[in-house]
Symmetry: C2
Subunit: 136 residues, 2 copies
Amino acid sequence: MNLNEALNLLKNEGYKFTDKRKDILEFFAEEDGYRTASDLWEILNKKYPGISYDTIYRNLHLFHDLHILESTELAGEKHFRFSCGHDHHHHHFICNNCGKTKSIETCPMDFIQPKFQGYMIESHKFEVYGLCPVCQ
Amino acid sequence: MNLNEALNLLKNEGYKFTDKRKDILEFFAEEDGYRTASDLWEILNKKYPGISYDTIYRNLHLFHDLHILESTELAGEKHFRFSCGHDHHHHHFICNNCGKTKSIETCPMDFIQPKFQGYMIESHKFEVYGLCPVCQ
DNA sequence: TTGTAAATAGGAATGCTTACGATTTACGAA
DNA sequence: TTCGTAAATCGTAAGCATTCCTATTTACAA
């Protein structure tokens, strides 16, 4: 997923193209890490003073539903990042300081699946937290 | 960790012994899964009508700090369970319906640690979600 | 039995998120 | 290009989990 793919997906699904949606997608396309709704609001409010939180959250959910963004919960707050898992399943290391991520290609489910006979597995979460080389 | 160990730990650390603390610990000792603050409030309010949420949260945090309870975040809400990780590190399968858990002894960090040269790993989260045999 | 710090009650405040009526806007059709 | 309409946004209120605060009560040691 990149910026153009996301813009095309929006158009193909029949959603309207607005400056704010473009700027939201550009924001996430430029970031390589998890960001919160208020991170996004801080940036957009410079260009669109008084932008509604409704607009922020509505579009975050829309983009998430369209799989343009993926999300995770960190410290009780939802965080979003540009989706990078369209072509292959993987997990993330997430820097506790800057929010930037590093892909982890190994999926622990490959090792433990056999141990869950009788259980219906619906999803899983594997994330590693710490400090990236830059933030140490 | 069991109920008596928890009660002794409380006493040894100099905390006062109250009926509410006893009942909170008994609640978690009887449950074998993750429960929320309001789950707990629902139960305690029967015996102590009007019990303050302050009491609930203050004690949940106390017990968590004392490692009597462990916690995780599910669907935007903090969940707590009696700690079972004192003697050995492990992860959990968590039933999406009843909250009950099953231990996972395999830790994915054993496989991926070498791939993080230059990164300072501080913590990790691995949880599997689905339906337990009873809830299917 | 009493003194005191700890614990609790009751309720207000906070922070993130969602909801909603009124207004504006994107965009296809005329 | 203009117009009509559904979609998008605004401004603000409400919801929910959680935290905070002060007055009151309680556990427990002296």
